[in-house]
Structure formats: structure tokens, C-alpha cells
Symmetry: C2
Subunit: 125 residues, 2 copies
């Protein structure tokens, strides 16, 4: 049972490899809007995605299969796109596959403390 904010787990930021594909369209750092970012995060599945990327990333970015989510592919595609369009994640196209990572630096600069809340979140028991 949550009683107070636990110390936020450490967010992992892996170095950017060279030669990455171009990012898909996204808002610039200055275009990020708090209401839009909060809207994108106001969903347990999206919080699960962002939290897993923040805490458990094994590579620079991850395709939707990595998350092991039991949802239709079309639903996952929608959620990953919503996160990107809000500016929470950056997506790149690798052949047929899109991979995502969290825009930690941009979000920390514009909304300090927000990602710590996501990292400290846990799904409802």
C-alpha cells in the first residue's frame, strides 16, 4: 500500500550509439507542453512502458516486443506513437521495426522531477 513517495529508483541513461536512423517526427524540447506530457502519462500501460525504459533498458532503444506486453500489436503501436507525439519518447525506424527510448534530458530540463515520479510509480496491486 503506498503511503509516501519512496526514494525514486535510479534512471539508466545509456550512451547514444553512432549511426542511428533519424528520429521519427516529434516535438522539439521547447515545444513540449506539460498538459500533453501529463496526458500521455495518464495511463497505466504507458506508465509501464516509460518506467521499464527508465529502469530496465538493456540497449539504447527498444522495440515493442521487448516489453512483453500482452496487448494487440495495433494497440501497442498506438501507445508508442502517443508517447512519441507528446515528446515523452523518441522513436527510430530500424527496417520494419520501431524502437523507443525516453527523452530523459529534454524532460528533465523542462519538467524536473516528473520522471522520478514515473520511476517511483507501481501498477495497482
Amino acid at each position: 500500500m503506498p503511503t509516501s513517495a519512496a526514494a525514486a529508483p535510479a534512471v539508466k541513461v545509456l550512451p547514444e550509439p553512432s549511426g542511428l536512423p533519424e528520429p521519427l517526427p516529434e516535438p522539439s524540447r521547447d515545444e513540449l507542453r506539460l498538459e500533453t506530457v501529463l496526458g500521455a502519462l495518464s495511463d497505466p500501460l504507458r506508465l509501464t512502458i516509460v518506467r521499464k525504459l527508465l529502469l530496465e533498458s538493456e540497449d539504447y532503444d527498444h522495440s515493442c516486443g521487448w516489453f512483453g506486453l500482452d496487448r494487440p500489436k495495433s494497440s501497442l503501436t498506438h501507445h508508442f506513437k502517443a508517447l512519441r507525439e507528446a515528446g515523452v519518447t523518441r522513436q527510430r525506424q530500424y527496417g520494419l521495426e520501431r524502437r523507443s527510448h525516453v527523452r530523459v534530458e529534454d524532460l528533465d530540463a523542462r519538467f524536473p522531477g516528473l520522471l522520478a515520479l514515473v520511476a517511483a510509480w507501481s501498477p495497482q496491486g
Copy 2:
């Protein structure tokens, strides 16, 4: 143009007067859910309401007329209720009128830093 998070303005917390009406139904502190709170705040009008309460409160709580919002009463009633049901605000019934204030202590305990983001928010120019 926003380039980085400005220092958050100071949040005003006025002392609770004695003899207040009972609060309307609301989630307890432990029942607050990040996804629900973020959903309630993912709207410019609601951010405007919460931010004004945080920064400009003149009394312990305020009726919707105080905000000077140019929206139909029924719409405002809906938004104030949504904020209360998410646990962002506490509402009390004074005769025919409901007044709200922000649950600063509860939100700071569960989601530290969140209200600073709301206080630093500004509507899109």
C-alpha cells in the same frame, strides 16, 4: 518561449479555519494514483485552476466564481469535480456553493515535485 524549467513560484498554503463543512467524497492520500492525478491535470483549464489556487489563493478555499473563467457553469462544475475525484483538490459545500483548495500536503507526500511543475506551467501564448 520556454527553454528550461524556471524556478517554480512559491506555493501558498493558508491555515485551515475551524468549523469547516465536511469535505465532499474524495480518495484518501493512500488511494491517490499517479495515472489518475496526471489525467486530471492533463488539461489547460484544470492546470489554470490548480495553478491559480496554488499561487493566488486569498482564502482557504474558493468557489468557481473566484477564478473568473469564461466557461458555462456546467462545464466548470464538471472540471472541479474531476479534480476532486482524482484527489487533486478538496471540495466543501457551503450552502449552495462549493469551494475548492489544493491538497498540497497529500500531493507533496505522494508525488513530490508535481505541484512545482503545475506552479511553473503557463498557458500557451
